[in-house]
Symmetry: C3
Subunit: 402 residues, 3 copies
Amino acid sequence: MTVQSHVLIDAGESIVADGTVLQGGGAAGVLNWRVKLRTCRGGRSEGVHVVELDNGAMCIDVLPTRGMGIWRVRRGADSPSPSRGGARGGAILGWQSPLREPVHPAFVPLFDPSGLGWLEGFNELLCRCGLESNGAPDFDANGKLLHPLHGRIANMPAHRVEFLVDEDARRLTLRGVVDETRFHFQSLRLTTSITTSLSSNEFTWIDEVENIGGRDAMMQMLYHFNLGQPLLQPGARITAPVATVAPLTQVAAKEGVDTWNIMPPPRPGSAEQVYVLDLAADDSGNTRVLVTGLTNDEAVSLRFNKRTLPCFTVWRNTPAEADGYVVGLEPGTNFPNPRTFEQKHNRVVALRSGETWRGEVTATWHIDNQTIAEEEAAIRSIQADRLPEKLKNPRSEWSSHA
Amino acid sequence: MTVQSHVLIDAGESIVADGTVLQGGGAAGVLNWRVKLRTCRGGRSEGVHVVELDNGAMCIDVLPTRGMGIWRVRRGADSPSPSRGGARGGAILGWQSPLREPVHPAFVPLFDPSGLGWLEGFNELLCRCGLESNGAPDFDANGKLLHPLHGRIANMPAHRVEFLVDEDARRLTLRGVVDETRFHFQSLRLTTSITTSLSSNEFTWIDEVENIGGRDAMMQMLYHFNLGQPLLQPGARITAPVATVAPLTQVAAKEGVDTWNIMPPPRPGSAEQVYVLDLAADDSGNTRVLVTGLTNDEAVSLRFNKRTLPCFTVWRNTPAEADGYVVGLEPGTNFPNPRTFEQKHNRVVALRSGETWRGEVTATWHIDNQTIAEEEAAIRSIQADRLPEKLKNPRSEWSSHA
Amino acid sequence: MTVQSHVLIDAGESIVADGTVLQGGGAAGVLNWRVKLRTCRGGRSEGVHVVELDNGAMCIDVLPTRGMGIWRVRRGADSPSPSRGGARGGAILGWQSPLREPVHPAFVPLFDPSGLGWLEGFNELLCRCGLESNGAPDFDANGKLLHPLHGRIANMPAHRVEFLVDEDARRLTLRGVVDETRFHFQSLRLTTSITTSLSSNEFTWIDEVENIGGRDAMMQMLYHFNLGQPLLQPGARITAPVATVAPLTQVAAKEGVDTWNIMPPPRPGSAEQVYVLDLAADDSGNTRVLVTGLTNDEAVSLRFNKRTLPCFTVWRNTPAEADGYVVGLEPGTNFPNPRTFEQKHNRVVALRSGETWRGEVTATWHIDNQTIAEEEAAIRSIQADRLPEKLKNPRSEWSSHA
């Protein structure tokens, strides 16, 4: 049996296969995958498309309308198969932003002169920041906005979404294509493949960003991967192979770099603390990051390669729970400074016409102690006998706040 | 019989019960209420939800998509019951903005650098101005927009709308919840209950604005209640218990404060005239305002409490009829100056986390002489022997134009 | 038989007759016209309405959602009648912008502080630029955006669209009404009639812009009529009766005014070259422009009157094909400089309350040599023995780049 493909969205053919449900043919729950395309109704989520990609063990909710971001991953209760050996019960991977439902881009004032309108749409587990730029808003000398916070890709809808299933290989893939194009300026095309195996607790996104225009272009990508409630608890710990870690902001410096990897409790009104890292990696550039101390002793890890994602940022957001208690793990081509700053420090990717940048991240939702221990061992192996360098203050090359 | 509740919109459940019609069970037109949720089609109103709340005597058209504003109130022809004792014929409470249909927020450029984009969506009988700010656009020293004209709540869709009916108490209520939330900044939640009795010519909106975030917040609310054609005529008169009245603008000063309460005829190209008032109130803070001299000798009154709505603004807009001939009655927490100015003069409401501001206004559409006379008497009673103070020029504490 | 009228869109009645198909009653393909209203799905075109107006020889795709712009004209394959004497095969009149599908205005950041957001929605054969302004973005002395690039009408939806057919006169007309209204400011109403005869290779748009407000108003109109692939080829030539031609920009000056009318080949990364012209006209003000050298020796011509469309601009966009290789023919009330500049040079139309500006352009898609020769002769006749004046550099009255 070869790969079967199903078009869910194709703007070129004026197709949105709303309400489509596809599911595995296997008996006795062996091939109990299920895919559904639905459309959100009501409030600011009116019209947002959601693809529910269920591998039998967990359901990945993908948002074509928001640049193929991943809203959340659900395990347990909401899945089609009610009983599920090994799972510790229903749970959600994601976070609780003050805005709970996915927000339609029409309600996100991205070009609010403050450059902060992006914040009104931000509530995903995985929110891509890019493609022309990401990071803090960038202004010209007169205070006019050049690049809004974290760029535009999260508020661009996919014009093509396809579901691919290979039951022999037990593999599901959702492929989406999102263009970030301004006529006369850049034409960047994101093609993402979000893939998972049947019954797996892992999923991978493989992103290709192609300069489909005829001009030279520049791009940035930062994966804003966010863990919050109900999984996140005070004291949750990030384990990573560290070459250097430094605060990005003065607030983070004041909190202290020594505890960069420990999640403080919610403190109403507190400001976010951001740390930037040069991770250690193996000879192939592979590295990995683990968050432990989550509810039910669960853990979450990311694996990626530093050759395309050289920068790693940790975002600790520690306000009252109602304001979004969350930690962000952010592999990226750059640090989240204004693009002008990053460009000066050569952390922008140049793409000639036809060139493609490729990034890949695998996320694992650990619900057993053994794989957590294996992950920790793998990280120790990369760290080896290298001593992490910890900078007390922002480093001038890394931070526009230095 | 207890209250029955029907969910019309719930973004959390992805529900918009479009096309729903509910109606009273009584025979012989005794309980001839009717509620309908419909969706506008075409032009800039495409996708706007309207809840038609008909109490048997009049139909209140509410706009969940526009922050639970009230588009208009209709009496007569369009109602389900064709004959209606006592009504003087079909009529509309509202006004004729150049844009006749309700405008979807996606077509309102709220963050146009001029800060005036709000004007492109404004055509309701009741348009709420707030929640983070209202009033004239507020700019920083470099001319960058801080707060757009009249804030954002009128262009935020309700994420939950519920209809409640208590036939024993002969009471209908439409409850809507609208969040004005920017992650990292404020989280203000408006819960409004728009309520009316069967066959009544009155309706009330009871608004609660809760700071659902963990940070201290500030809010403003101004109810832009607008009477225009076909009811409004030149010479229409506002009667109110006045402590002090002053022009807000130089144009209003030039028109003269002595005639602040008399609607001039349409004068093509004329500028709006705005007056601000400190109303007198009874010992409980209750006050009331009446507009007489409308078509067919009808009148409209508002009742509210100065303890939560201390400021009252009168907006006379007297251009050609095609440009929107209208008078606005505007009870508010503040006057419609830029927020920075209002904040300096302590006319911004501070809300700690979890705190709630509550405002309530009752509007009556008088179609008989007796209740008009009663209303006038009630206003005289509040005024008592107090002499209204009339300021010829803008007062520096009240006007950024002073 | 008189004219039959069918309402396709009417916001006042909350009607969008989506899916409507109307077609001719004649037998044997004699009256094989066909009209369809459909709604685009997917990506940034979600919700865009398209009226397919097929006269039996070609299908004109009109976009009510984008100000009644004309997306493209199709001949051949997609038409209802499969065989079509004389046509040289299926083809498309239009161009290949990097964004292929029509873009919903909700995805066009018109008020991006750069003033260039309009570019993200631009991909039509005919894109109207106006009504309050068109041309390059206009800023105040502090760099704050006053008027965004090419104005707003292309991103305003028609609130009323009506199809009219007169089978006796063999004439089809699509009439659309689009308001560009900002309360307190201007109220301009565009009523366009797009009309074609059965089996014809011509179509005409007749635009009326009425000042429906009570104030004096000003307007501008520029018809951005764009020919690109698959028809456009390097060496394509514009023939026109020329009084004076000048470069608008320094880039165009450098390219040389002598070859203003010859389309260069695609040159990746090249900047657009813009030329502005005072065309010659006959005694009634009629003038015409022809583009020859298109694929299959086809040609396209425009006819219009200089009394209402005195200015003519040629836009040569010569980047890589992927970036949109296209030539624009732009009859207008003005040249595409910032409105402040055009106003200084009296190229803005003043409209008193109730006044109407009227413009009309006929486009012909020539697929036979004879009508091309006739068109060339007509142009020669207007030119007569007048010598075209060719200015090497931008003229100060005509160009803000001079």
